[in-house]
């Protein structure tokens, strides 16, 4: 008995194929239009900053949820493809090519670690795919590859340079500052921060009496601190990730040396307070983009996503992820398509107002300015009783816009 497949003749197969080909466009029209694919590339697990990466993804997903509820943009819904780079530059570079070439994403958010952005920022610039940074804060991330070149790197987030300028202004204004010293981690993040510290100190007319480095995995920095103490340093500016800043505070405790500590915002990370312990954690002063005194609107968003966050302190990264995604969507709407060059041009000349959770954006970017959050958007922060709190003292109150130089 012949089986069914034997009944299919070559001619019949050909007819079927032809019919299918003819019908294909009609089928495509009938189906919902293809999704707008966004990518996230960043560390979600490995480095001390992974918690921030996970929070950013929570924010991006919340934005996509809100956008899709409104019907998406250009009649198309959004979807997110997430790639973990384990904080390793080679893996991050590979992810970037994979997202752009294989997954065909129209924009990428991330990464978690600044060094990885610096390792691959030539890729989106060559392939002309906009990147919206929301975690990594190295100053150079959003710098164009060449002067005058089209730049596809944007950021809604904290910027090292902006933080350094504000911290240095504090050090200069504080009558009890005394001599200043630098302590930095030997990673890309720490060393880029050191360059900012040196340049801004020069611009504000300050000189560091000591300049020491430590490894990201070091557990004992007493030797470096002893040198700062010998140099008479009373204000230490620290650029490192959460865990090593915590180890640094423990080392200060060991030798009983407590200068005023002004740090990178990595001190807001749970990894910092875990390493330092709740008492020592209260010493550093740092800057964030979202105040701990939340507006009702910020509080509503906080309550909505808090169950998905590892810690209260990760909230600001979710805000950056949310606002960055919304700005990308607005730019696609304005451009009328999702082509990289058109979206970039739209981002650089965004019309109208956008009520974000970090602030209200009005023309956030220009061709030369790719940072949505600036010095005016910095919030002074510290740890109090195991929680983040707004920091305020006479020096902060006395800071004026003209103090922020560099």
């Amino acid at each position: 008995m012949p089986s069914i497949s034997d009944d299919i003749t070559r001619r019949g197969f050909g007819r079927g194929t032809l019919a299918a080909l003819l019908a294909a466009p009609a089928i495509a029209r009938a189906q919902p239009r293809e999704e707008i694919r966004l990518g996230f590339n960043g560390d979600l697990a490995a480095s001390p900053s992974a918690q921030s990466g996970r929070a950013a993804v929570v924010g991006i997903r919340a934005a996509i949820e809100d956008l899709n509820r409104e019907g998406g943009v250009l009649g198309r819904a959004f979807s997110l493809i997430v790639r973990d780079d384990l904080s390793q530059p080679p893996k991050s570079i590979q992810n970037m090519s994979d997202l752009i070439d294989n997954e065909r994403v129209v924009a990428v958010l991330g990464p978690t670690n600044s060094g990885n952005a610096l390792a691959w920022r030539h890729i989106p610039n060559q392939k002309r795919v906009p990147v919206m940074g929301c975690i990594g804060s190295a100053t150079d991330i959003t710098r164009p590859i060449r002067a005058g070149a089209d730049n596809y790197m944007f950021r809604v987030g904290s910027v090292d340079r902006t933080q350094v300028i504000a911290l240095m202004a504090y050090a200069k204004k504080n009558p009890r500052s005394g001599r200043i010293g630098f302590l930095t981690e030997t990673t890309g993040y720490g060393q880029a921060g050191l360059r900012d510290l040196q340049e801004v100190a020069q611009a504000q007319g300050l000189t560091a009496a000591a300049n020491e480095r430590f490894n990201v995995n070091d557990t004992d920095m007493t030797s470096q601190l002893a040198k700062l103490r010998t140099a008479g340093v009373e204000t230490a500016l620290v650029w490192a990730q959460g865990t090593p800043i915590g180890q640094l505070m423990r080392s200060m405790d060991k030798i009983g040396y407590f200068p005023t500590v002004l740090t990178s915002w990595a001190a807001d990370n749970l990894s910092f307070i875990n390493a330092a312990g709740p008492t020592l954690a209260e010493r550093p002063i740092f800057l964030r983009t979202v105040s701990e005194d939340r507006t009702p609107r910020q509080q509503a968003f906080f309550d909505r996503i808090r169950p998905q966050l590892d810690a209260d302190s990760a909230y600001s990264f979710a805000v950056h992820g949310y606002d960055g995604t919304m700005l990308l969507a607005r730019a696609m709407q304005q451009a009328g398509n999702t082509e990289g060059p058109a979206v970039r041009a739209a981002l650089e000349d965004l019309q109208g107002r956008l009520d974000g959770y970090a602030k209200t954006y009005e023309r956030p970017f220009t061709r030369d300015q790719h940072e949505a959050l600036t010095a005016a958007d910095q919030r002074w922060t510290c740890w109090r009783g195991g929680r983040l709190a707004a920091f305020d003292d006479a020096v902060v109150a006395g800071l004026r816009p003209e103090d922020f130089r560099g």
Partner: protein, 306 residues
């Protein structure tokens, strides 16, 4: 100034104790089987996580990622050490049977690759079970700084040093004063002759790998409260410990211990000068030592007959 140097000494000895312990563990397998376990770094990380798991299970205090300080109190920390030692010892036996014995006595260096591979498998399994995020482990004696003539030290650092010294002294006695130690040294000297003398060579080799791996696991448990437990923490420690062992002479256990301590003190000392030059100075020094004394400072001069 004196306090600063004392601080360097204390900090250097604390980290040097760990290096010395792991360096000794390299020496134990090298002297008995002429092979090394290149998965020692992964054994350290697994030991640390296993310790956290035991403390979490027996105490039920806090969450796995942030154990309460009380979780390491009482007999829990020694219990964790015993479990880690036993499990890692068993893993060492498995490593010997799976990755060393099939290649032992054969030409080539297949065991190098097979031990590295064993470590990668172990780390991947660990990542699947515990995830890659670092985890805090409380110290059994609290976390308050103790003052010694102006230098500060934490109880865990003293514990690391004390346990390392006690373990090393005990092993030294074992190797030099007991029949088992004599058997181990005989196997190291000449396995064929040792077998003819009625020594169970296979058992001695198994025991050496079990002991070496148990030391790595306990080392991980000791360091975890200082550096927080992570599956990636062991690589750096194992590399430094191996360098210390090479510098002191791999075939001399006492030399290895010396090398480990010397490396820890050098790290702290060089940081007092220029921290960013630390690794460069240390490894240049090791190369220099090996150029002058190819078998390490205290290694026996080996003559390879060609």
């Amino acid at each position: 100034m004196l306090a600063t140097y004392l601080q360097v000494l204390v900090s250097g000895l604390a980290i040097g104790g760990v290096y010395a312990l792991i360096a000794l563990s390299f020496s134990i397998t090298f002297t008995t089987t002429k092979t090394l376990n290149f998965a020692q770094g992964e054994f350290i990380g697994v030991g640390a996580f296993l310790g956290v798991t035991v403390l979490y299970l027996v105490s039920g205090e806090g969450s796995f990622a942030a154990l309460a300080p009380a979780a390491a109190g009482g007999a829990r920390y020694p219990l964790a050490a015993a479990v880690v030692g036993a499990v890692l010892g068993a893993l060492g036996i498995l490593l010997f049977l799976a990755a060393i014995r099939p290649f032992a006595g054969k030409p080539g260096m297949s065991w190098v690759m097979s031990t590295i591979g064993f470590g990668i498998i172990l780390q991947s399994l660990g990542l699947a079970v515990w995830g890659p995020a670092p985890v805090n482990m409380p110290s059994p004696f609290g976390d308050d700084v103790m003052r010694l003539a102006g230098a500060g030290v934490r109880p865990q650092e003293i514990l690391v040093l004390a346990v390392a010294v006690v373990l090393m002294a005990a092993l030294d006695l074992l190797m030099r004063r007991t029949r088992l130690g004599k058997a181990m040294r005989a196997v190291a000297h000449n396995p064929q002759v040792a077998a003819l003398m009625g020594i169970n060579v296979a058992a001695v080799m198994l025991g050496a790998f079990a002991l070496s791996s148990a030391l790595a696991g306990v080392g991980g448990l000791l360091v975890a409260p200082i550096a927080s437990a992570s599956l990636f923490m062991g690589m750096g420690i194992a590399l430094k410990a191996f360098s210390g062992a090479i510098m002191g002479g791999l075939d001399n256990p006492r030399g290895c211990i010396f090398g480990g301590f010397a490396l820890g003190l050098l790290e702290a000392g060089v940081a007092l000068w220029e921290a960013q030059w630390r690794e460069i100075v240390i490894f240049l020094l090791i190369i220099l030592v090996l150029a002058i004394r190819p078998n390490g400072l205290f290694g026996a001069r080996a003559l390879d007959k060609v």
